[in-house]
Amino acid sequence: MNLVELLYSSVERHSSRRALTDVRSGRSLSYGQLARETQRVAALLKTEGVERGQRIGLLAPNDLAYVPAAFGLLAAGACMVPLASNLTPAETAEIVRDVQLNGCLAWPKADVLPGASGAVVQGGECDNFTFRWLDRDAEAPAEFDSLNPAFIRFTSGTTARSKGVVLSHEATAARVEAADRVLAFSEEDRILWVLPLAYHFAVTIVAYVRAGTHILMCPDTLPRAMVDAVQRLKPSVLYAAPLHFERMANLGPSEPLTSIRVILSTAAPISPAVMDRFESVYGVPIGQAYGIIEAGLPCINLGTEGLPSTSVGRPVPGYEVAVLSDDGKRLSTEDLGEIAVRGDGLFSAYYSPWQLREQITRDGWFLTGDLGWLDQAGALHLKGRKKTVMFVAGLKFFPEEVEDCINQFRGVKESRVFSRPHARMGEVPCAEVVLDSRGCDLDALKTHCARLLSSYKVPLEFTVVDAVPRTPSGKIRR
């Protein structure tokens, strides 16, 4: 199968209905126009010789044009690699290398990647998008093509080890189907969209398009603008990050947001206090989902089924969730252990280094690295994580990546990146550095980090210390 078929079947049912609207400019694309724009992009890529199984990057901002560009890549048979626009050139170059990117489709204002001069989309929504080959003949691992890959996705952070989560067309469709069975999207739904498409197109936007919803893209994500947009445009669905909800709740008394039937928080854990405050201000409960890039949304708590608000909900149809002990045994209800997930929505492989899902899972179970427990009602509760991931305002990253960057700087012997709780941001990153005899200028070190890392990863404070604290086994203590 190919996911673009889900778009085409929506077009048959809803050709003249609006698919996308840019809230700021008021411009819209109907389903019929979205399909035509998709075909325009696909035609250019096919003319250029793009073939099934090639890894093609998409570098485009959060805008209407993103959607036909992405569907166009899929329609041409390419495996899409989203290149988020907030990545630094160094971070983008790393992805290009890790997935042996064959080519890239980029919006007109994108920083130019190296490569042959490109072919340009003429007219339409993606006017002046350029396609260029980077390494046309780069070959993927032998099993790659047989997976029917649709996407290679990177978390907003990257680990030192496994990079590039490969998702097949079938696994994406299974995720869409599973989410839809709980969220029940329909052509009556109007979605207020504030999240980065580079991280969410793969499943969420495909699900909205399959259901024939109307997606309202809100480029302004300041809290007042979001509340105004909800009151003015009356969306029925709002999917956003904890920080969006926290800041909306902080604005204080408001008319209830009566148009909304589903509010879902994603990207990072949300605090119960924020959920309570939001509901008391706006009269709508916030639901939350358990999202993992390798597994999709295996649990959803809509907030309307009487489950504790601290739970991420019961497993969604199509998924099984278990809590395992350190030796891999299934634990009973209310026992704390590592969360494992099984289902058709699981990822297909890691790209770099290449590992098939079957090599990583145990009896089909994917071990998430998150700790949690299941309650008597079968709902999952999260309780920390085994990995060292940090969340800054809903964006994820691993401190090791920042330490690697700091340690490259002349005069630094070693470093430790850790988080400090912050009332508004969740966590903020801080760094301790041990200097060698040459010493270094901390301001220059900060600028070095800002050059190579996305701004949210750059430590707010750098402190010089004599030694980095370590555990008895030699790991950095955080």
Partner: protein, 86 residues
């Protein structure tokens, strides 16, 4: 808090943006439109953290309106108004 000089504050905000956010692209000037220069909502949060650390208050969301955040100079004017109230 000693009296703040809007010029000096604008210079400090501009310098912060240029060293920690715009380190890899064109530096901004005090009167540049920050959204046009490419500052996204995450970058704005970094600026709010800077203001909190340097000037001792968190700029509340209701004040995040264009006239207060459009340019480094607009931010400086806001910071000085707040500073003189406390």
């Amino acid at each position: 808090m000693s009296r703040l000089d809007p010029e000096e504050v604008a210079r400090a905000v501009t310098a912060f943006i240029n060293t920690t956010i715009m380190a890899r692209s064109h530096p901004v000037q005090p009167d540049d439109d920050l959204e046009l220069a490419g500052l996204d909502s995450m970058a704005l949060l970094k600026v709010l953290l800077f203001i909190e650390a340097q000037f001792g208050f968190w700029m509340p969301d209701e004040d995040l309106v264009e006239e207060n955040i459009k340019t480094p100079r607009a931010m400086a004017a806001y910071i000085c108004r707040r500073g003189s109230q406390s």
